[in-house]
């Protein structure tokens, strides 16, 4: 088959020609895959062919090896591995040959394809000669081939994981790459390719970074490359430094002074892409030190993994002035541009991270800058001063900030109304929000907001909500944190007198024609939510009045017919906000009997609206509507059963939504809500629900975070339906048993330990639900066979000593449930179990009240079981 013409046709502007070409490519592929891939690689390698067809041939090859979607990717990998070896060798030979093509596009395409093949074959111990083939004569190669070889090594390091390549091969790769980067390399393209390759190869260099001499050499070459005359090389070299800062933080001490000098020069003098990377180096160091300090507090012991070197603290006197300078380099209109990222933004962000890293020490270094610039006629100076102020509010102690903030508050309130510059107002509103977020609330001893200034604050913020969308959005944000600070204020809130006005203003904002800009509408609804959440009984009647208002808004979104996909997306987003708002209101009103009673008059209508929201979509369910329904089920109780016939299909749809696993997780939670609400009336739907939940558990497509809640949900259902659960008992128990075996040990990182504990908790909640559900039923005996396994599970997780408090509380409860439900049958087993007694005693003396409470109950149940 003549692929050249077909490949040309596949890029034709004539749709019909293109379609025919794509069809015949597809046919060729289906009829003879090895032949197809081989002819593509021949095309790519053939110097006589046009560059477009060579590139396309390479691209199709690449897509035949890799896909974004995991299952598809796996299929492609298997397909390649099972391909005829002879064809594969010929393809690989063509690819390697192309690396020395004079045509740069062909070379670069071949690099990427080789990396994909390597990504498949190297982990299988196939193509072992690749790396030596690439490196064998790298020194004698003409520049263009050398560049392609280095690029290939870079892509390859991106594709494969470090454990796949032997250390001596890693050494060879690094040697070639670092030599290619060094100043002695005359060719710019080669040096750039080498620098970019190093970025990907850094993860392979663990051993080399532990060797002083090798590390020194690598660091020297990287630092030299930051001074290259070529801007792209400088940028790539700084990217390497950023990566090194997080991968090899503990090795940086000898170089940090030099790096500071290099970065300071780049921040002040270099082109923006380079200076942004230079700032990022310090932000990344902050990230590292914040993590270390959060984990270990201030005292380090011998067994701390990585000590804090306090690079930021040491660099502070020079670092802060450098960052403050960047703040004055704002772009006009950066606040209206969502994609904006410039040196002022990067510097400001870094300043905030520095404040979090060093705390109080930053304050005296920044205050003079604020004082000097805050009243200057140039808006850039006022804005920079305001930003500097806002960025140091998180980190330093409230005591350190209090006097500064008290002065600043009055000034900011006035600036928000009077400053002529929108940029300044935007940052001022943001800084006010930061004050309320970090220095207002029950946790702060001396209140910033008093009866005297509360009125003024509210008035100014509501006024600002009429400003340009970006300023209004920040004002909403400030109000959000103002409300949040009063969350635990007690029966009477200082915001009560303004409640109605606040709600009215927020609703007005949502109706602004420009509310779609700067995510203003979203901010307004989120603020409304927080205002409702933090409201007190004094304003309950006003919250009730809000119900029909939001319902009407939701109803209005359902009117549109024949929407374009763009309009559909907007409709869905708005429905999300309104369902979210209703969810908050339902939860608020449902939490006290009198308001719940009045609210219930709307329940039918609200449920009707939610069902219509679901009906707007064909294949997926609306997450926010699902969350709201959970809240509604809780408020409605047994009456919710009447909605089930209509609602069930959406519930099922939600449980089947593997792609948006959040939706699936939320739906699983709602099944729990409904089980508790309608109890045995859920029985008619249990076959479908249990089937789907068991399917979900056995799927490897579903995000693992959904699995623990599924187990908890078994418990919810079992508790709700009691002995009717019998019919699922064996399946549920066998799923629980295999999960229990998997979750006994937590070997792995913190994240895995956390996950394992959440899995344990889910499993144990399921056991609790099942045992309590069967209590006092004639079928209790069905549970006896499972008791010893559960006790073994409890024993083994007790012995592991890595339970978190939540698991401990649930686990001791399960021990009680066993005794409570099985009585004497469990009593002897518990007495025989090696660690039940120790576990119980440990829980009884726990300082955690919930653990203690569960343990007291378990003790009672066990003593009754044993005494029988």
């Amino acid at each position: 088959m003549e692929v050249t013409q077909v490949l040309l046709n596949a890029q034709s502007i004539d749709g019909a020609v293109r379609k025919t070409a794509e069809e015949s490519l597809k046919q060729f592929q289906e009829q003879n895959l090895p032949g197809f891939l081989l002819s593509l690689s021949v095309e790519l390698a053939n110097e006589e062919k046009p560059v477009e067809t060579r590139k396309l041939a390479g691209l199709i090859l690449k897509n035949a090896l890799d896909a974004k979607e995991q299952h598809r990717k796996f299929e492609l990998v298997q397909r390649w591995l099972s391909l005829d070896t002879n064809a594969k060798s010929q393809i690989k030979a063509c690819l390697l040959k192309t690396l020395s093509s004079p045509v740069s596009d062909a070379r670069s395409t071949a690099s990427q394809v080789i990396a994909k093949v390597a990504g498949i074959e190297l982990p299988q111990k196939q193509w072992p000669e690749l790396i030596s083939l690439l490196l064998s004569n790298v020194h004698q190669l003409p520049a263009h081939a050398k560049q392609a070889t280095l690029e290939t090594l870079g892509y390859m390091c991106e594709e494969v994981s470090p454990d796949v390549i032997d250390q001596d091969q890693v050494n060879k790769i690094l040697t070639a790459v670092v030599q290619g980067m060094s100043a002695s390399e005359g060719n710019t393209d080669v040096r750039l390719a080498a620098t970019r390759a190093l970025y990907n190869a850094l993860g392979f260099a663990q051993a080399n970074f532990s060797n002083d001499m090798e590390r020194d050499y690598i660091m020297r070459v990287v630092c030299e490359a930051t001074l290259s005359p070529e801007v792209r090389i400088r940028q790539a070299a700084f990217e390497c430094l950023v990566s090194i800062s997080s991968t090899y933080y503990e090795k940086l001490a000898p170089y940090i002074q030099d790096i500071f000098n290099i970065t300071a020069k780049a921040v002040r003098e270099d082109e923006e892409p380079v200076s942004l990377q230079a700032i990022e180096f310090w932000s990344s160091i902050c990230d590292e030190e914040i993590d270390i300090l959060e984990e270990y507090g201030s005292d380090f012991t011998g067994d701390s993994d990585i000590p804090c070197f306090y690079f930021i603290k040491q660099a502070l006197p020079a670092l802060v002035p450098m960052l403050l300078e960047t703040l004055l380099k704002q772009e006009e209109d950066q606040d209206q541009d969502e994609g904006a990222w410039n040196i002022a933004m990067a510097g400001g962000t870094c300043l905030g991270l520095v404040a979090r890293t060093v705390g109080d020490d930053i304050v005296p270094l920044v205050v003079p800058f604020i004082e000097e610039n805050i009243t200057k006629p140039d808006w850039r100076q006022r804005e920079a001063a305001t930003y500097a102020f806002g960025s140091i509010l998180e980190g330093p102690s409230p005591e350190k900030l209090l006097s500064l903030v008290n002065v600043a508050l009055t000034f900011m309130l006035s600036a928000l109304t009077k400053d002529p510059n929108s940029h300044v107002k935007d940052t001022t509103a943001w800084a006010l929000g930061r004050i309320f977020e970090f220095l207002h609330g029950s946790a702060v001893d001396s209140p910033i907001i008093t009866q005297a200034n509360c009125q003024q604050i509210v008035t100014v913020l509501l006024q600002s909500m009429k400003d340009t969308p970006n300023v209004a959005e920040k004002a909403c944000g400030a109000l959000y944190f103002l409300a949040q600070g009063y969350e635990e204020v007690g029966p009477s809130s200082p915001l009560t007198p303004f409640f109605q006005e606040i709600v009215q203003s927020l609703l007005t904002v949502t109706h602004r024609e420009d509310a779609g800009e700067s995510r203003l509408r979203t901010a307004a609804y989120e603020t409304l939510n927080e205002v409702v959440r933090c409201s007190t009984d004094e304003t309950a009647s006003l919250v009730l009045q809000l119900v029909p208002v939001i319902m009407m808004e939701l109803h209005n979104t359902l009117e549109g017919q024949k929407l374009s996909s763009d309009e559909r997306e907007k409709q869905s987003e708005l429905q999300g906000l309104l369902c979210g708002c209703l969810q908050v209101i339902i939860q608020k009103l449902g939490s006290s009997e009198p308001t719940k009673y009045v609210f219930m008059q709307y329940a039918d209508q609200i449920m009707g609206l939610f069902l219509r929201v679901f009906a707007c979509r064909s294949a997926t369910v609306h997450e926010e509507a699902m969350l709201a329904i959970g809240a509604l089920a809780y408020a409605t109780g047994p009456d919710f059963a009447k909605y089930m016939p209509e609602f069930y299909r959406y519930l099922e749809m939600g449980l089947q939504n593997f792609e948006e696993y959040q939706v699936c997780a939320v739906t699983v939670g709602v099944v729990g809500d409904i089980s508790r609400a309608i109890e045995e009336k859920i029985v008619p739907y249990c076959d479908g629900i249990m089937t789907q939940l068991l399917k979900n558990l056995s799927s490897n497509q579903l995000h693992r975070s959904v699995k623990p809640p599924i187990f908890s949900c078994f418990g919810d259902i079992a508790l709700a339906v009691g002995e009717y659960f019998e019919k699922y008992l064996m399946w549920a128990m066998s799923a629980l048993q295999s999960a229990a075996e998997l979750s006994t040990h937590t070997a792995g990182d913190d994240e895995l330990t956390e996950y394992t504990n959440s899995l344990r908790n889910g499993i144990l909640e399921a056991y609790s639900g099942v045992f309590q559900g069967f209590k006092n039923s004639p079928k209790t005996q069905l549970l006896i066979p499972y008791a010893s396994h559960i006790l073994q599970f409890l024993d083994s997780i007790y012995i592991e000593k890595d339970m978190d408090d939540v698991v401990m509380k649930t686990a001791i409860g399960v021990l009680g449930d066993l005794a409570d439900t099985l009585g004497s049958h469990a009593g002897s087993l518990i007495q025989q179990s090696p660690s039940s007694k120790d576990f119980l005693n440990e829980c009884l003396s726990s300082e955690d009240l919930m653990i203690k409470e569960s343990a007291e109950w378990a003790k009672l149940a066990i003593s009754r079981a044993i005494s029988v």
Partner: protein
């Protein structure tokens, strides 16, 4: 290798309100779960002292039950819904055959295409062979044919299917699988599951039962290659429970492409020139099918009854004569039958109505695979699904 994006959130709160709503929901759910659990724990618990399991090995006691149990069933004429295998396994002789014969779910024959075939029904190719129950209990496994007679006796890996030293296979444990025994490779193909390890799946929908049998039902049952000889297609309604006797929620359909046995053969394996049916003789000479309620096909002349010494309950064989079967409004109106004699002794039941009609239509105007496919693709089915239509005019 393009430069890496290093933008960080700017002037943004670290957590979104949506995330907060999710988390608050989770908190509320945790709280509610705790409350529900707490409430359950505080319910007075009557610490149960379960009696030790009834000794299984007291022959006298079980022998008594053995005699009476099937009698009761026979008299009342109803099928026991809950199947008591430990008890049934002690039945002997004809009683046990009768008992098991009543436990199978028997498919009706597909004489017209059900609605929503593509949505509500599972389909798979039925293996050619003997329909049987495979029952494991008390350390042995027995397969029983449709008429209740034993096909094989063997140890198996099923729970309680073999004698092991493992004490877990208690007398409580047993399995019943609905199978077809495929002679060619001496394999039992499981087509449905009734009980597993002592748990009854009777009340579960087939959607639930099949999840455990096989997670994915063969979609191209008709054309697809299967490792056994096909004998027609079985259609299972997703929502159907396992039910003993004839059920319209499981349907069998066949044509020459997917079965060697489309038209019934006689005892010599030859297709008789006229269709033959087996009907049950009832009082007053009524001839009925095995359906519940039975369908009346006609009356047998009193002379013949007397001459041949027939009595109520006999299964009789008839040929369908040239008058054939005639239908009015989809119901049987007249059947032109010719008495041939008593049915084979191995028969446990008369033919079902759907079988007779299917065999009749196969000989005259069969339901074709194209009719089934047409139903799946019919506009009636599609209308119920939302679909995007690209406008061209």
């Amino acid at each position: 290798m393009a430069p890496h994006d290093l933008r960080r959130p700017f002037k943004r709160a670290a957590i979104s309100d949506q995330q907060k709503r999710r988390e608050l929901s989770l908190l509320r759910q945790e709280q509610n779960r705790r409350d529900a659990q707490q409430q359950a724990r505080c319910l007075a618990s009557s610490i149960l002292s379960l009696q030790s399991p009834v000794p299984e090995s007291e022959p006298e006691q079980s022998d008594i039950e053995l005699e009476t149990a099937p009698e009761i069933e026979k008299e009342s004429g109803t099928l026991s819904k809950d199947l008591d295998v430990p008890r049934a396994s002690k039945l002997r002789g004809p009683e046990v055959r009768k008992w098991f014969a009543r436990q199978l779910m028997l498919p009706e024959w597909m004489i017209d295409v059900p609605d929503r075939l593509s949505q509500d029904w599972y389909v798979y190719a039925r293996p050619a062979g003997k329909r049987c129950f495979v029952v494991s209990s008390n350390g042995t496994t027995v397969s029983r044919q449709r008429n209740g007679s034993i096909l094989h006796h063997f140890p198996s890996a099923l729970p309680a299917g073999a004698k092991t030293r493992d004490s877990s296979g208690s007398g409580q444990s047993y399995c019943i699988l609905d199978c077809i025994f495929h002679e060619l490779d001496q394999t039992y193909y499981v087509i449905d599951m009734v009980c597993w390890n002592g748990y009854s799946l009777y009340d579960c929908t087939s959607e639930f039962r099949f999840f455990w049998l096989n997670s994915k039902i063969e979609e191209s049952a008709y054309t697809g290659v299967v490792p056994y000889v096909k004998d027609g297609l079985l259609f299972y309604n997703k929502h159907a429970h396992y039910q003993t006797g004839n059920t319209p929620l499981v349907l069998v359909w066949k044509d020459e492409n997917c079965s060697q046995y489309v038209i019934d053969t006689d005892s010599k394996g030859e297709i008789p020139s006229q269709q033959q049916v087996v009907l049950e003789l009832q009082d007053n000479g009524k001839l009925v099918t095995s359906d519940d309620p039975p369908v009346l096909f006609g009356y047998l002349d009193g002379d013949i009854i007397q001459k041949s010494g027939l009595h109520s309950g006999n299964l009789l064989r008839f040929a369908v004569s040239d008058g054939g079967l005639s239908f009015v409004d989809g119901k049987l109106d007249k059947a032109d039958l010719n008495y041939l004699g008593k049915a084979n002794r191995g028969r446990a039941f008369a033919d079902s109505y759907s079988k007779v009609v299917f065999q009749f239509t196969v000989r005259h105007s069969p339901l074709k695979i194209d009719d089934l496919l047409a139903s799946i693709n019919s506009p009636d089915d599609q209308e119920k699904k939302p679909c995007d239509v690209e406008m061209v005019g």
